[in-house]
Amino acid sequence: MSDTPKDVPFRGGGFRPRRVRGVGLAVFVVLIALIEWGTRTGWISNLTLPRPSAVLETFRNLIETGLLWKHMLPSLSRLAVGSALGISAGVAAGVMIGLFSLVRAGMVPLVAALFPIPKIALLPLFVIWFGIDEGSKYALIALGTFTPTVVATYGAVDNVDRTLIRMGQSFGLSWASIVRKIVLPGALPGILSGLRVSIAIGIILLVAAEMLGAQYGIGAYILEAGSLYDLERLFAGVVILSGLGVLTSGVIGWVERRVLAWRV
């Protein structure tokens, strides 16, 4: 060994995700610019991908003719009603499963049996049960959001810190107080992160439902564009769906930051 002191080599650091601003947007911009350039030079044929500027133009047309709202409003109301039904029933069922062993024993196998069924396959059945109108669409979205919400909710209730519940019991809190003041707030983070998945599934099912028997709606719009091979309109519809996904995820993120500020 030599006598001259050397720096100790640094071996730490890394493995810690940082927040990098603007990169997400840049990826979108570069990708779209590349497609625009490719379609203009003919490197990408018109049948492979539509020109982004043409999609934008279609989109502007949609807004100007007022057709956007004609399609958006029914879709949004279907999504809102259907997922509100499914999510509220799912949270209620999940809390019951979390609290009562009897309900757990009865419901968990049922939910496990319902979960993997592709709900779209049941659409014809729903049409018979609830009619071709809004009823079957609500039911499809409700059932689709119900199962993931149940699973997320009872998992969240199971994960509530038992020492907090023991504490509540040791202070003589009533059962209802323990559920309302300890179990439900403790389960809220898990329920909210489950909602992200549930609502995304809700959007997928919304489109599926609108592809069958709907005059207006984003799904109907996409289906029509697809059968005419009108790629600009197809992509305009897809952009709306992506936007809807980003929007709902953003709303849940905002709610989480507001309601769950107590988290470490």
Binding site: L164, M167, Q169, S177, K181, I182
Partner: protein, 255 residues
């Protein structure tokens, strides 16, 4: 109020954790329970507060509860057990709400217990903003708010560093001197036991039995760290516990 354990034995599955424990908790005194890990001292405390039931034997309470007592048997937990979504005042009002105490009456109680635990400036702080010592002070304030007949402290200082532990021990002594309370204090730390215990119950390793009960007559307020009499007590306790702890350490877990 006095608590009495009579011939209490308990087993988890085929592992006997406590065997034939008979012990009285006299009013106005702090009884410390020490013993090697896994000897069932926390289990014993859960029996005393009715959070768990022993297989055999009886846990009895006798005598009147103090006036205005909302929850006679009140715990202070090792991990504080504060609701992270409620601020300091909210955590204390949690245990008052179920007794219909709200508004100005609740505010008065909260202000009083926060003052007694030197927390008056932390009314609106969330648990995540507080240090471990502060969190345990909040838990103690919450326990005081229900004016308990017996405080059941389950290793309350074990999650804290040595300096904070000293500070909180002083605070507990001050609280006791101002208004003597009955308490059962479970710990594995002998220096806490000799500082806070009027009586120290030494449990053997599993199955836990009472090896000895040591009474320390020095008033709590006169006990100082490094006091030769206390050191002697501590040395004696360690002598009693050493073999038990060694043997307990070598035991295989029953999982």
């Amino acid at each position: 109020m006095e608590l009495t354990l009579e011939a209490v034995s308990h087993a988890y599955g085929d592992v006997t954790v406590l065997s034939d424990i008979t012990l009285g908790i006299p009013e106005g005194q702090i009884v410390c329970i020490v013993g090697p890990s896994g000897c069932g001292k926390s289990t014993l405390l859960r029996f005393l507060g009715g959070l768990e039931r022993p297989d055999t034997g009886q846990v009895l309470q006798s005598g009147p509860v103090p006036e205005g007592c909302l929850n006679p048997l009140t715990y202070v937990f090792q991990d504080f057990a504060l609701l992270p979504w409620r601020d300091v005042a909210g955590n204390i009002s949690l245990v008052l709400e179920d007794h219909g105490i709200r508004g100005a009456r609740a505010e008065a109680i909260i202000a009083d217990v926060l003052a007694r635990t030197k927390l008056s400036d932390f009314h609106k702080a969330l648990p995540k903003q507080l240090s471990g010592g502060m969190k345990q002070r909040v838990a103690i304030a919450r326990a005081l708010a229900v004016n308990p007949a017996v405080m059941l402290l389950d290793e309350p200082l074990s999650a804290l560093d040595a300096q904070t532990r000293e500070l909180l021990m002083d605070d507990l002594v001050t609280l006791w001197e101002r208004a003597p309370f009955t308490a059962v204090y479970v710990t594995h730390n002998l220096s806490e036991a000799v500082r806070l215990g009027h009586r120290i119950v030494v449990l053997s390793r599993r199955p836990g039995t009472i090896r000895e009960v040591v009474t320390i007559d020095t008033p709590l307020g006169e006990r100082r760290a490094g006091d030769p009499a206390l050191e002697a007590h501590q040395a004696r306790l360690w002598h009693l516990m050493r073999q038990e702890a060694e043997a307990a350490d070598k035991e295989l877990g029953h999982v």
